[in-house]
Subunit: 556 residues, 3 copies
């Protein structure tokens, strides 16, 4: 499919503001400003299409289709002169990036033409994209040059003013609805929610912190940011700031160049804090630089974070009927069509189908509206911390306070922090949205039967968490383990596994009507039951060593 992308090689020279693309000779002249030397580089990318030079930009015609598209013809597309200059070098320096972009929809349509699409087919949500971008393909410069005043990471690069990080606030230029929905979601707040909530931060620090052995004891140190970056913040996102400028040796013809010195970079977690003050990373799901809707709609994207043992959405999906039918047929289906037609484009849902895509019936009736607030079709939060609970009202969950004064959606006894959670009416509203998706392929009674089981599972698993919490309380009360840090001793870890690993797993399996084996043996009821016995036995056993330790102290 991509084989015709680079059929020839073309000589290009760069000249600031003075681009000459001579198709007859097969050459394009660009002189790079700062370098003051004319650089002739092999320019293999634009070449596959008939293109003509212009003062404002050169045209390229997409010669391939990376995404399955419904349009039968694509017009010639203008590249801005700045983007041409970017490509002239980067096709040599980082060819993979340029190639990725060439396969993207951004390379195939201008905002102006995107606006001409019928409403349901439109992927752009602004009515007024920036005037100077409207007629060009959405290229390197179009995205990496927006809002320079806000970007700490803006710097002068080969004569252009460039931001290293493209943030949701930049994407907002063309996709304001998506950015607005996303910004209010738990995903966008994922960094804050884990780092600014003292309870969760203690959990994170206890897991990821180095442990030294001192006098035979396991002594916890604070976790390094680097390790947090590769574990929790790999999904939640890091805080990216600019410490100043630094010189790096590129190893290419460019030698040493100056770039902003970013903290905690590279970073693509969903709640990344960006150097322009915005939160979120669109590339978490629409990866760089293809921005593919196909990739985002396939389950592998969500699978990068929604995995066992704590959030086993993908594991459960793989073992479900939905997942089995997907795996058997995915290569026959269309993951790029907008709107997404149930029964035509796909015959079994992926994560995106149920949680956020715009869905229509084959007749064109809207089954579900597009949303980038991924909780907006969810009425209950089955990711129990420590019990399941109604979805929080705000994506910023650090504002929650339960009756015990802790920033948690329930008390350890299970009482809801109801003021911070959605009410019954909103739960019903969201439940109906989800049920409507199910009913595209299942009868009403089938769907109702499914959710009846789900309700029972939520209730039973919460009770199994309560049983573990009772045993935990006994261990704390007897002084067998110390509740100062409730996450660092062995019985405490069994207790965490009860709600974070096993109850969650069973609820995910139930919600997605799949993975009976997973819910039974793998990370489900088997473990849930075994775990209570382990807690019971461990309390009894550690009580013996506690007495021995007290005796040893008295002996001294």
């Amino acid at each position: 499919m991509l084989r015709n992308l680079f059929p020839a090689v073309m000589l290009v020279s760069a000249n600031c503001g003075n681009t000459v693309l001579n198709l007859r000779e097969g050459t394009m002249h660009i002189t790079l400003c700062k370098s003051a030397i004319a650089v002739w580089i092999a320019f293999a990318f634009i070449i596959s299409s008939p293109a003509t030079a212009s003062e404002k930009g050169s045209k390229h015609k997409p010669g391939h289709k990376d995404e399955q598209e419904s349009e039968h013809a694509a017009p010639d597309i203008q590249l801005s002169p700045q983007t041409q200059a970017c490509i002239a070098c980067h096709s040599k320096v980082t060819p993979g990036i340029v190639s990725d972009w060439l396969s993207s929809r951004h390379a195939k349509i201008t905002p102006e033409d995107a606006l001409k699409k019928p409403s349901l087919e439109r992927r752009i949500s602004t009515a007024s994209p920036p005037e100077n971008m409207r007629g060009f393909a959405v290229g390197c410069f179009e995205c990496h040059s927006l809002n320079p005043d806000k970007h700490q990471d803006n710097f002068q690069h080969m004569g252009y003013s460039i931001n290293v990080v493209v943030s949701p606030n930049d994407c907002n230029a063309c996709h304001p609805t998506e950015v607005q929905q996303y910004s209010g979601s738990k995903k966008a707040n994922a960094y804050k929610n884990i780092m600014m909530n003292p309870v969760y931060h203690t959990l994170v620090n206890t897991i990821d912190g180095m442990k030294k052995i001192e006098d035979g004891k396991v002594v916890l140190q604070d976790a390094s940011y680097s390790t947090l970056h590769e574990t929790c913040l790999g999904c939640h996102g890091t805080k990216v700031e600019v410490k100043g400028m630094k010189k790096i040796f590129t190893g290419s013809a460019w030698g040493e160049i100056s770039v902003p010195d970013l903290t905690n970079w590279p970073s693509q977690g969903v709640g990344r804090e960006n150097p322009d003050g915005s939160i979120g990373a669109c590339t978490a799901c629409h990866p760089r630089h293809s921005f593919s809707i196909e990739v985002a709609r396939k389950p592998y994207t969500c699978a990068q974070c929604h995995l066992d043992p704590d959030v086993p959405a993908f594991n459960v999906y793989k073992e479900s009927k939905h997942g089995g039918i997907y795996d058997s047929n995915e290569n026959k289906w269309n993951f790029s069509n907008v709107p997404w037609v149930i029964g035509k484009d796909i015959k079994s849902p992926t994560c995106a189908t149920c949680h956020n895509s715009l869905l229509v019936s084959p007749e064109g009736n809207v089954i579900a509206e597009r949303t980038h607030d991924f909780g907006s079709r969810l009425w209950v939060r089955i990711f129990g911390l420590i019990y399941s609970h109604p979805q929080p009202k705000s994506g910023d969950t650090t504002i929650i306070k339960n009756k015990d004064g802790l920033p948690l959606p329930t008390t350890f006894g299970g009482e809801l922090a109801a003021d911070f959670l959605i009410d019954k009416a909103e739960q019903d509203n969201r439940f109906d949205k989800m049920r409507n998706v199910c009913k595209g392929c299942h009868s009403t009674d089938w769907v109702n039967g499914h959710f009846k089981k789900f309700d029972n599972t939520i209730k039973e698993t919460d009770e199994m968490t309560a049983s573990a919490t009772k045993l935990m309380a006994e261990a704390w009360d007897k002084g067998i383990e110390d509740k100062t840090n409730p996450f660092d001793e062995q019985i405490e870890k069994l207790w965490i596994k009860q709600w974070l690993f096993y109850c969650n797993s069973i609820r995910y399996a139930s919600a997605m009507t799949g993975a009976p084996d997973y819910a039974a043996f793998k990370n489900g009821w088997w473990e849930l039951s075994d775990n209570l016995q382990k807690m019971r036995d461990m309390i009894d056993l550690k009580e013996l060593t506690k007495e021995k330790r007290i005796k040893l102290k008295m002996d001294k």
Copy 2:
């Protein structure tokens, strides 16, 4: 591939028994009987094919190929008037179901034409399908209206007498050989085998039952049927009965309708007990409503139940050479051809290849006959309960009695309940069947070498189970754990893991000549060995708390 399925929209109105499909005007008139109002609905499905109205049925021509088929032309196909009426509404109410069916073989060929196929290519096993179905595509009504007298779940629906559940006994109309083979298998008896065998039922109940903490003790309650449904019975099947009728709100134009009130529904486990008294669910592997042979032949279908930790067939396959070659090439192969040609259609086996498909050589010689009794090519049952043993004679394993009087294929000491298991001659017969499949691609010596290793592995893993059983006996004898329920305490759970998780895993890895890493570290010898040490140490440790508890009692 599916993009041309719904090229236009057509207006349809329904009139009971009076269907008029006017192609010139692009309309089809049907009036729905009960509703007494003419309903015009967009009817997007049949439209893609040139169709003509008739009193008996309308024709549709399959405009796509969901399955890779060898035929080059498909005749116009008649839909029965009843099926037309179903589709008229359900294309709007549950479009995914209609779309799924349209992609099925059932929508593309009549039983009459199916009978004209050469014997090896035929997928229908009756010589005499019901007279009134012969000339129509096998549509909604054809399957959902059979044997109404037997169906507790038969009800009047929009003027038609409909069964909610289509059972194997209904499929029997066209596929009697498959139904007969399947009915005698362990799969068809899977519900009974787990729910009516008191030993297994105790295990199931112990795992899935709620546990409360009372006076610091873990107290087991009976498992809810709902939780059994989502765990063990998700694979084994549920008992589906009719409690009466109930009204449900569809949310569609139809508002409230009356439907049978089914217990434990939806349900697609292999041993489902159906409201017509039959057992089994063909949709467990040929999922609704595409009935796809391709899906059934791909390993993802079997993977829904045959997973780690207890039956890790799919896990092992994924790590095997067979699985790796499959994963690398599956999109080049043909999973729909009948008969299935080794070396031509596929170059590495899937589960179905070895266990049940009709296989021929490129020259057309039969390598293996089709079977829907999935044990019929198996001589030994490596799913040890608690030791491996010859396959049981009957799919109903509740009839087995071992020397200790328990309904198990061996005693805890390993002695076979030989009267209920196949004999040496039948073992040899089945072994040859399987070996013949292997020899399609491997030399005789290669195959023999493989099975020699396998025999040794069976022997060694059974001995490792015996070692664990000895330690278990010690714990029971010393009163450290209580054998009344042999499945509910911690050392007992280690013992279960020995045979149910680890020995089984190693045997699956051996049988499929794959997954050396799995058999070594993941769920294999590492765990098998570690587990014996854990049992040993736990016996010694719990002996201490036992003494302490006795002392505490005496002190009182």
Copy 3:
């Protein structure tokens, strides 16, 4: 794609040295020498191409493309008369093997034509293939007849002198560069490295050995070779020797035949010791008999051994951004093109991309040279035994001696056996090679940021191993466990898990910039931290039973 492979059936008879392929009559006459009877068999394979008979060989024209190839035309290819004889029978006896070979590149090009390819496109690395093979397709006889003097497994088979096992030394005839690189690698030495190193061999034996219960004690027996074959040696390879000749019953028309009696066969581990004295098995990655570069480049091949819990490369890849993009797009990419064009053929790397393939930019510039020494782009060995360390100089690691005299790359305290490990200059050299691959798609600063995290992770995980080792030392010092065999007791197994499972997992996740969830919860920091607590508690608990056991002894 394969559907046109067997369009017809052709009658063939075999006559030793006297092959007559009559296309007009559609027959080919070959008489098999030994059998002395003319055998007419359906010969379905060569038939799909226009072929003409010749004394030297018959031509077949590849009628399909199993691998995506860039050439637009393929010439008619000669089969040697010996290979024709092989195919004549084996197309009937083991049709899958013949079919596999027909899909291979070996069946499509002669060494002579391969030599005409431009240097970068060439897959053959000799300039002078054996004279008698140059003009024929590389068929059965070409590979199975080489170097008969060296092959213990050479035998007379149907009139031909045949080797059962094709070894790297045979592949050397056309691929000497690859064989030479591979022979020096750790992979080729994998059998020796695990079986001849007493430390590792003790570990292997302890895991895989049978355990009996004697007087309530767990007693270890030596592991059987058969079990080693299915576990460790499944990846590392077995020692294949010839015990003599034996008769086997083929079950085909051939009845009983005599073949070499091979030990430990079948076997495809990377470090197999072959009956010609050579080491290695090319089929470990280029499986039989398609020798596919596509299969070798896809990650499923590496996944057969590089799996959790000890070497979770594939698990990490699946959860990484690279893996997610691969999974979403693999069917659009070209895995057969040589050289492999970054950004054109693939847009996300697989294992082979980073570790061994010849890579070029779209402009044709070489980004990385091909290597079959899989460590040659690696500067650090993150598979900690027990700490991470610079790559060993030699693929034969049995020659290493650390300061404690053990054949390990570090001491238990972490000191390097520096004489046997590559130095800083070589580390830098290899680091640059790998970094160059990254920079095909990522900016220099991005890549540097990634490896900065990686360096920290190596440091922290090594410290976490050191913490576990301190606790282990305490247990040994106190006599709670016995260090004679450092791998067979429960606390020792926790210690092994620390470095072999958890530290390794975190380092793999870090190296591949993926799997944050895996590194956090699944097999990473969660386990690493929990494990230290388990060791601590287990030491305290087992100390109690130790005292009790001593007391019991004194009481006696």
